[in-house]
Amino acid sequence: MGDEDRPLLNIKELKKSFGDNLVLDGISFSLDTGQNKVIIGPSGTGKSTVLNCVNRLVVPDGGEIWLEDTEIVSCDNINEVRQEIGYVFQGFGLFHHLTALKNVMLGLTRVKKVPKKEAKEKAIAKLERVGLLDVLESYPAQLSGGQKQRVAIARALAMEPKLMLFDEPTSALDPELIGEVLNVMRKLAEEGMTMLVVTHEMGFARAVSDEIIFMEKGRIVEKSSPEKMFEQPENPRTREFLFKLDELYGKGGE
């Protein structure tokens, strides 16, 4: 390991096109260990693509992504790097044929080769952490959306990641189930997890994040602390977008 001051995640000049659709046009930002950053922006702006690039589910056309001292775009051990990055997204991606417990165990037993007994203990501990001890033996189809997403979080945490990515984790949920997922995320942040979150939950962003990144058309328009972003955004586009969000979702945390 080298420099103690280097960020945990450092994204430099990230570029990506799908065909002739330029989706990411030079995105740069970084996260220090324990930091929590929120990305906001209109639909189709490339927010999900940024996260997909971070664990190379989408291969960028240009730029660098450093996780500590591993460069993700060019590394040749991507499956090991992915174990260090938890990914939770809108559609949950739970394995339908496995119980909540087995969903959390699968990565441990099959990827990390943890012995079954140990994996089970660990999985139970993670499920307890997200408040799901009572549904260990339930199948995904028997869980509410909020429970599904918490299983997905526990599954990601079981791999002991250094970084957690969240892509609109509450967008598919009924309004009354959003809170339980945000609470888990908030607790995670308080415990020091490094998190990069795409969300339109401005209450969460305001309470938890260290910085809000506003993206539009594949570029970062503005990044600043939540206080500054909400009280006096610099860019008129940011102001306009936040105003629209207020109309759609209500004023964040107020």
Partner: protein
């Protein structure tokens, strides 16, 4: 009903040919189970090859599946039994029955399985890869177990089909239930009655199988699976 059976000597014929009928039934059932066993294994492999194999493998699997499904089973049996000997490849009727039905069954099982493989959504691949699973691990531990469960109803339907279609074996003279029936009838000239008995035996076996299959399906049922 009972009168009908006695009057037309159905029971007589059944009792006096019991041994032969049961030996035919035994062959039919053994053939069906063996064909189902290997047909399903080859079917799953063909489906995996078609869906996930590199281009040439996928192409070969596709060609096989479409060729077999696109031609009549009778023609396939004829080719194996009557046409191949012209090229010096000679199989016994029994071998042709096992081989032909397995070849055929595999193609159908492959298509059912492929449909199930494709019904596993992109989100699950995404989360599996995010956990650091390799492609083969994702297919083996995430996609395939679900595809198999989705396929069970189609596979068991196929079992019933095969059970009945094996009667085509009589065309090449493999000693199945139908062939034994034909043999009995050719001696007592009671064609209608003998085939009636054979049909009843098929019906009883199908009903029993359906009942057992329902029990098995219920046992393997997972909430969220059709």
């Amino acid at each position: 009903m009972l009168e009908f059976l006695t009057e037309f000597m159905i029971i007589d014929i059944f009792v006096s040919n019991f041994g032969r009928l049961m030996s035919g039934l035994r062959f039919t059932l053994t053939l069906t189970f063996v064909v189902m066993f290997f047909g399903t294994i080859f079917g799953v492999l063909l489906a995996l090859g078609r869906s996930y194999g590199i281009k040439p493998i996928s192409w070969v699997c596709t060609a096989y599946i479409e060729l077999i499904r696109g031609t009549p089973m009778l023609a396939q049996l004829f080719i194996l039994y009557f046409a191949l000997p012209a090229y010096g490849i000679r199989f016994s009727a029994v071998t042709v029955a096992y081989l032909g039905f397995t070849i055929n069954c595999a193609a159908y099982q492959a298509e059912y399985t492929r449909g199930s493989l494709e019904s596993v959504g992109a989100d699950q691949y995404k989360s599996a890869y995010s956990l650091g699973m390799k492609r083969w691990q994702t297919i083996l531990f995430v996609v395939l177990p679900q595809a198999i469960r989705w396929s069970i109803p189609a596979w068991t339907n196929e079992f019933i089909y095969i059970l009945k279609y094996t009667s085509l074996a009589y065309i090449i003279g493999a000693p199945d239930l139908m062939t034994q029936g034909k043999f009995i009838a050719s001696r007592n000239y009671q064609f209608f009655r003998v085939y009636f008995i054979a049909a009843i035996i098929y019906l009883v076996i199908v009903l029993i199988s359906t009942w057992i299959i329902d029990k098995i399906e219920a046992k393997f049922k997972i909430p969220g699976f059709g």
